[in-house]
């Protein structure tokens, strides 16, 4: 992460300057929700962070505020869409209780990952309710993360959306013409 970028985010209140750990600084966790309960928010926050986690390149879904994004799109959506979220979250907790004897929030990291791993196993051919819920939450996580400042600026490293004097296009010899050795 470039120092210049970090300073910009510090100024924007996204990154606390002292540690470099990224958090949503603007809104205390679970406050001001429009649709989710605090518990549901915590569940989605944990699930989305497993889907798009923090790593050495960039912060994850939690820092990007994805659970709050889901709260807003669900609040603005239809009743049927809200019902799908509610049923999906209940199914995750029910599955966790059945397998590990506690709600998802009370599972340890390994157990949480195992739950998500099973949800993701049938991604291409979903049949169970949890299979379908995985597709729903994954799509929302991707949409929320890559429209956030964290996703656009840190993860993608995107610096456009601004005025430049010229557009250089591809300047890499080898993209349009293979190197002589590659052509042999």
């Amino acid at each position: 992460m470039e120092r210049r970028t970090i300073l910009k985010l510090v100024a924007a209140g996204v990154v606390p300057g002292s540690t470099g750990l990224v958090q949503i600084a603007c809104q205390p966790e679970g406050q001001g929700l429009e649709f989710l309960s605090a518990g549901q928010y915590a569940l989605l926050d944990a699930l989305t962070e497993i889907i798009l986690p923090a790593d050495d390149r960039s912060p994850g879904a939690s820092a990007a505020g994805v659970a709050r994004y889901i709260d807003i799109v669900a609040a603005d959506g239809t009743q049927a869409e809200r019902d799908r979220w509610l049923a999906g979250m209940e199914a995750v907790d029910a599955g966790a209780r059945e397998r590990f004897g506690s709600a998802f929030a009370d599972c340890d990291a390994g157990q949480k990952d195992e739950i998500v791993s099973r949800m993701a196993a049938n991604e291409d051919h979903p049949s169970s309710q949890l299979d379908h819920f995985f597709r729903l939450i994954k799509r929302a996580t991707i949409d929320g993360y890559y429209t956030s400042q964290v996703g656009i600026e840190f993860e993608l490293g995107y610096k456009g959306n601004t005025a430049v004097d010229e557009f250089p296009g591809c300047t890499h010899h080898g993209h349009g013409e293979p190197a002589a050795s590659a052509d042999a």
């Binding site: 889907i51 994004y69 991707i142 993860e155 591809c170 890499h172």
Partner: protein, 533 residues
């Protein structure tokens, strides 16, 4: 509202109406320009440089998406759409700027040859400011170009793929796009209301008027002549004819207060779009002795194939914005040798890279850090290929009036009938195979493809409808003559793309503007000869 004695009424201020307004006002004629929508201001009504996270639902404003009239037509059949923007400038405000001349072969099925239109293409390009490379292609003539804008990395891979297929005998070409955007300072008088492009990619509503629109070039220039009166927020509801029925007398319209009014003039020009011009003529029951008004409807349609090029993922992808996603074009297909399974031709608009508006690739398998990595790589290394083919002109595609639905003024809404023909599906299937071949020849992976194409995969271009007032020399089979004049009413003209009698794969707007300018010159000449009184 003072009702002057107008020489000409022009209904509609999009690409065709805007240029006709300019040509006629600068010829010294008194022009009334009637536009259903309000005046809008670049930089006020549409701004660039938004970030999605500045908005509650992560949807940054988009002039097109937020303003086109939804539900203003009745769709019949295979998911037709109809985009209508009501604003001074019409859809020129949000067009993508693609400016491709139709070629000599394309005009073979028109009642006028390429050479007849070529001088107007040149005039149009000089007025608009069109950038491009001179590619020397037989049926995509070069124009009078400003400094071009190059392709991105993924597009270079597609070009490489095309070059390799050409070495094996394939007939196709891969070139950079040509667009009506100023790539130099606005140092010519016709560009005085515009600025140089700064490559932010927010072209659907250019906040600095680097992109040509009717609202930033022909209309303000026409206003400066003192010959133009603009009737904004005025909806034309009928073409009026003289008491003998032999000529157009003017129009009826509803003003901003909703009250019915009328305007008189010596000539009436319609430029409301292929759907709305047909609708107005059908409602008025004029200019239709041929029965062809609303018929011969065609548009562009297509499917999208995406490729992924691992060779380019290590590049700096910090700013791929440019002049919007499509910087390149696959063209030259079937110009000389028609395909046995379908009629007509297609082109493929190509783009690549990361955009600020919405990630091009929003899916990759799995979850976790591996998912982040593959989404990043797929977006950095993607290339999208969007087919633009012409739907077969047939009895399955037409515009008529809905007997049941009416608008706020009590006028019947248009119905748009679209039923794809077998030829259309076969064309899309060929395009999918070609694109997959090109991606692989460029050493890429096919990331997404419709595979086997069905009607349900086809997407209509809701902005490219043409044909509903087709031009021709025979009054029995066409609505207007090659000069854009009604065969039935000698002072009624059409200057939008609904006059196109045949439609190549190329984007319509530049030809619409060139042809409208030619028709307007013809109108001015008729005034000089006192034929319009």
């Amino acid at each position: 509202m003072k009702q002057d004695n107008f020489d000409v009424i022009i209904v509609g201020s999009g690409p065709g109406g805007g240029i006709a307004t300019y040509a006629l006002a600068t010829a010294g004629l008194k022009v009334a320009l009637v536009e259903a929508g309000p005046r809008v201001s670049s930089g006020v009504d549409f701004n660039g440089h938004h970030w999605p996270y500045e908005y509650r639902d992560r949807r940054a404003p988009n002039f097109w998406r937020d303003n086109f009239l939804r539900g203003h037509f009745t769709p019949v059949g295979d998911r037709p759409g109809h985009g209508q923007i009501r604003a001074l400038g019409g859809r020129s405000i949000c067009w993508a700027g693609h400016s491709l001349r139709f070629g000599p072969k394309d005009f073979e099925s028109w009642p006028l040859p390429y050479e007849e239109v070529a001088p107007y293409y040149s005039r149009a390009e000089r007025l608009m400011g069109v950038y491009g490379y001179k590619d020397g292609l037989s049926n995509l003539p070069d124009g009078e170009f400003l400094k071009p804008v190059p392709m991105r990395c993924g597009e270079e891979r597609l070009r490489l793929g095309v070059e390799r297929l050409r070495e094996r005998g394939a007939k196709m070409a891969f070139v950079a796009q040509r667009k009506a955007m100023l790539t130099r300072p606005p140092d010519r008088p016709q560009w005085k209301h515009r600025q140089k492009c700064h490559y932010c990619g927010h072209c659907s509503g250019c906040a600095v008027d680097a992109k040509y629109t009717s609202a930033n070039t022909p209309i303000p220039l026409a206003e400066e002549t003192g010959n133009l009166t603009i009737f904004a927020e005025c909806m034309a509801t009928r073409v009026r004819v003289s008491s003998e029925g032999a000529a157009a007398a003017g129009i009826e319209y509803r003003g901003p207060d909703g009250e019915p009014r009328h305007l008189d003039a010596k000539a009436v020009v319609l430029a409301c779009s292929a759907v709305e011009t047909a609708r107005l003529l059908l409602i008025s029951d004029v200019a239709n002795s041929s029965g062809q008004v609303g018929r011969n409807l065609t548009s562009h349609f297509g499917v999208t194939v995406r490729g992924f090029f691992p060779q380019v993922i290590g590049r700096d992808a910090s700013n791929d914005d440019g002049t919007g996603y499509y910087h390149s074009l696959l063209t030259g297909l079937y110009w000389d040798d028609p395909h046995p399974d379908f009629e007509g031709t297609y082109q493929v608009q190509c783009g690549a890279g990361v955009t600020s508006h919405r990630m091009a690739i929003r899916h990759a398998p799995g979850y976790g850090s591996a998912l982040k990595r593959s989404l990043r790589e797929r977006n950095v290394g993607n290339a999208g290929m969007n087919m633009q083919g012409t739907t077969l002109i047939s009895s399955n595609k037409f515009v008529d009036l809905d007997p049941d639905r009416r608008d706020a003024f009590g006028m019947p809404l248009p119905r748009v009938h679209l039923h794809y023909d077998d030829s259309d599906v076969a064309m899309a299937q060929d395009m999918v195979q070609k694109c997959e071949e090109i991606i692989r020849a460029g050493e890429g992976e096919v990331l997404s493809t419709p595979g086997t194409v069905g009607v349900e995969d086809l997407v209509i271009d809701l902005n490219h409808w043409v044909g509903t007032t087709r031009m021709g020399t025979d009054p029995r089979s066409s609505v207007v003559d090659p000069g854009g004049r009604s065969h039935d009413l000698p002072n009624l003209f059409v200057t939008d793309a609904s006059v196109f009698p045949a439609y190549p794969e190329k984007n319509p707007t530049l030809t619409n503007i060139a042809l409208s300018w030619r028709t307007a010159d013809g109108i001015a000449e008729r005034f000089r000869r006192n034929e319009l009184v």
